[in-house]
């Protein structure tokens, strides 16, 4: 029985962790192509879930989700075009503060468009009582969906960046914008594209997790903080690193329930973030010699 319980914790930890990883990857995608830390990333999950919930009464679920993804992607694009596109070489700190402000505006708008209540999307298969049995652990099929969707998104993104022309162009822009421009790559449209991708991914993640964790107008902030933790932990070096970091955070959080009161669960991710910032700002997985990640740790022994 204990083994099954542990498996349950681990699986649910991996599931929530994969959501955090998706948020972290969203940070990555935008950061790598623009140098911007978009704190509003968490809001994209919230918007995706909320929009899908509103539409689920009128459309079949897959269409509702598709519409939510498209709409949220559009929001992401608008945010970038209206607020961020005309800033030249902004400092990291200013970016963070601006996007924190933007995330507040988005969530307040959501509060007014919807309300402060908790909403939930229909379960993709079955309902809240269905459960599968996996090696003695009982888990909801939705958890499998979360893992599957997250896994697919990570795979799709990795393929996109590795093998498509646009994806490679985005990576080129990230390493060296000037050189990329010289090769004829239009940096500004790639930036907009990166915001679209990050927002769309966030929306899909928000839809898949909504049946389990529910969707509420203010869920974005803590997701953003935890996603940022994954981004930092993974060193923003690769999509895979963010996934590993996400799983780590998710599992630790899940495991902490057995030791700490439930209400302190959120503190776990935050404490991890603090620890990483203080002890190893380049992240656990940052490769030496790669472009310094989010926090650009310096290599020399300067105090």
């Amino acid at each position: 029985m204990v083994a099954a319980q542990i498996l349950q914790y681990v699986l649910s930890g991996i599931a929530t962790g994969s959501i955090y990883a998706i948020v972290g990857i969203g940070f990555n995608v935008v950061y790598n192509s623009t140098g911007i830390i978009n704190f509003a990333q968490g809001e994209f999950l919230m918007l995706g879930g909320m929009i899908a919930v509103s539409l689920q009464g009128f459309l079949p679920l897959p269409l509702a989700i598709a519409a939510a993804i498209a709409a949220t992607g559009l929001v992401g694009v608008l945010v970038q075009l209206v607020f961020l596109s005309w800033l030249k070489k902004p400092e990291m700190l200013r970016m963070i503060v601006i996007t924190i402000g933007l995330s507040i505006l988005i969530r307040e708008a959501a509060l007014h468009v919807w309300d402060e209540k908790v909403h939930a999307l229909r379960f993709w298969t079955g309902d809240e009582t269905s459960s599968l049995s996996l090696a003695g652990a009982r888990i909801s099929p939705q958890v499998i969906w979360v893992l599957a969707v997250s896994g697919l998104m990570v795979a799709a993104l990795t393929l996109f960046f590795r093998f498509t022309v646009t994806g490679k162009a985005m990576r080129a822009c990230a390493s060296n914008t000037a050189a990329a421009r010289l090769c004829g790559i239009r940096a500004s449209s790639l930036v907009t594209l990166s915001f679209f991708i990050a927002a769309a991914m966030g929306a899909l993640a928000g839809c898949v997790v909504s049946p389990i964790t529910q969707t509420q107008y203010d869920m974005g902030t803590s997701l953003a903080v935890k996603g940022f933790t994954c981004a930092v932990l993974g060193g923003l070096g690769s999509v895979g690193a963010a996934v590993a970091a996400g799983v780590l955070v998710g599992v630790l959080e899940s495991a902490s329930i057995s030791v700490l009161p439930l209400a302190y669960k959120d503190v776990v991710a935050l404490t991890i973030m603090l620890a990483i910032l203080l002890l190893r700002p380049q992240g656990l997985f940052a490769a030496i010699g790669r472009r310094p990640g989010l926090l650009g740790a310096r290599q020399d022994s300067r105090r």
């Binding site: 830390i37 607020f83 800033l87 400092e91 990291m92 700190l93 200013r94 970016m95 963070i96 503060v97 601006i98 924190i100 402000g101 933007l102 995330s103 507040i104 505006l105 307040e108 708008a109 509060l111 007014h112 902030t221 803590s222 903080v225 940022f228 930092v232 009161p261 439930l262 209400a263 302190y264 959120d266 503190v267 935050l270 404490t271 973030m273 603090l274 910032l277 203080l278 700002p281 926090l295």
Partner: protein
């Protein structure tokens, strides 16, 4: 600005404070005094944050955490059956200790790293409060007694003491402002501004950068904790939202809108916007207003904000060199 020119604005502020009270009482509208008193306590926090962010150049996205630590400590100590005067000194002491413990590691970080770490701090405080029954969880703590001072005066929300509390709060703010102004014009203030401008050069001039940053951090935390404690006694209670990121962001917006390294600006902006917010003028858009304010300032006026102090000369303009004997 010599001492003479500094005193004039202070007298002006004092005059405005007195004038406001006289006019409101005459108009039989002294219920406004309650929100003005609350605005004063929040302004005290803003002044401390202005010292930290504008002058020392250290960003804190979690200052509401210190406000809450001060408030909750005062609440708990004053209902623990101890001497009634103990709550505020205890609140200040606890806040200072937490600020030192947090500050020593965290202030080694710079720029956006520091911002995220302070964000995490504020979040952690908020979550701990929400999750602990002893702190009242989501309901907060209430039935907090008034804080007794001399001669029948007390920090309390009672109608009979409304005018006194108004003056008391603004008096404390003025004292806080004077101390801050003194600091900025002094050796320590120059050291902080130097650290903000160029840490390496500051260290080369013999400034102990870490110690000064910590001092500024703790000082600003103490301002916040004191404000939290006093407001808790005034309101008779405190809730977990006081520690939240919404509040922290609000305080940053106030300091930024005031001009970042501008104590007078921070005073004016904080007093007015906080008062309006407390009156409910922004209605349901309260948080949105401050979020929008922050975005607008950061987008359009970042240099006067996170950048340099332009054109502020804090030394006497006429100094003659002594000739060598």
């Amino acid at each position: 600005m010599t001492a003479g020119t500094r005193n004039v604005p202070l007298l002006l502020v004092a005059a405005v404070v007195v004038g406001t009270q006289v006019i409101l009482s005459a108009l039989k509208a002294d219920f406004y005094l309650t929100q003005l008193t609350m605005a004063a306590w929040y302004t005290l926090l803003a002044l401390g944050l202005c010292l930290l962010m504008g002058y020392a150049g250290q960003v804190s996205l979690g200052h509401a955490g210190f406000f809450a630590i001060g408030g909750y400590t005062a609440a708990i100590v004053s209902t623990a059956g101890l001497a009634p005067w103990l709550s505020i000194p205890a609140a200040v002491a606890v806040t200072a200790v937490v600020a030192i413990v947090v500050g020593v590691p965290v202030l080694r970080l710079k720029g956006h790293y520091l911002a995220m770490a302070t964000l995490a701090f504020g979040f952690i405080v908020s979550r701990i409060i929400l999750g602990t029954p002893f702190f009242g969880q989501a309901d907060g703590l209430s039935d907090i007694p008034a804080y007794p001072l001399l001669a029948g005066l007390a920090i309390s929300g009672r109608r009979a003491l409304r005018v006194q509390n108004f003056y008391l709060a603004w008096f404390v703010v003025l004292v806080g402002l004077i101390l801050a102004l003194n600091l900025v014009r002094s050796r320590a203030g120059r050291a902080l501004r130097a650290i903000h401008g160029d840490e390496e050069a500051a260290a080369a001039c013999g400034i102990d950068v870490a110690r000064h940053k910590l001092a500024a951090f703790v000082l600003s935390a103490v301002y916040a904790g004191l404000a939290g404690a006093c407001l808790t006694h005034f309101n008779g209670g405190i809730g977990p939202s006081e520690a939240g990121i919404m509040k922290s962001v609000r305080y940053v917006a106030l300091v930024a809108a005031g001009g970042m390294a501008n104590l007078w600006g921070t005073l004016a902006v904080s007093a007015s916007l906080t008062f309006l917010s407390l009156r409910g003028v922004f209605g349901l858009f309260d948080d949105a207003v401050f979020g929008g304010l922050l975005v607008a300032i950061m987008l359009f006026a970042p240099n006067g904000v996170f950048g340099l102090l332009r054109g502020r000369h804090l030394l006497p303009t006429r100094v003659r060199a002594r000739r060598d004997p």
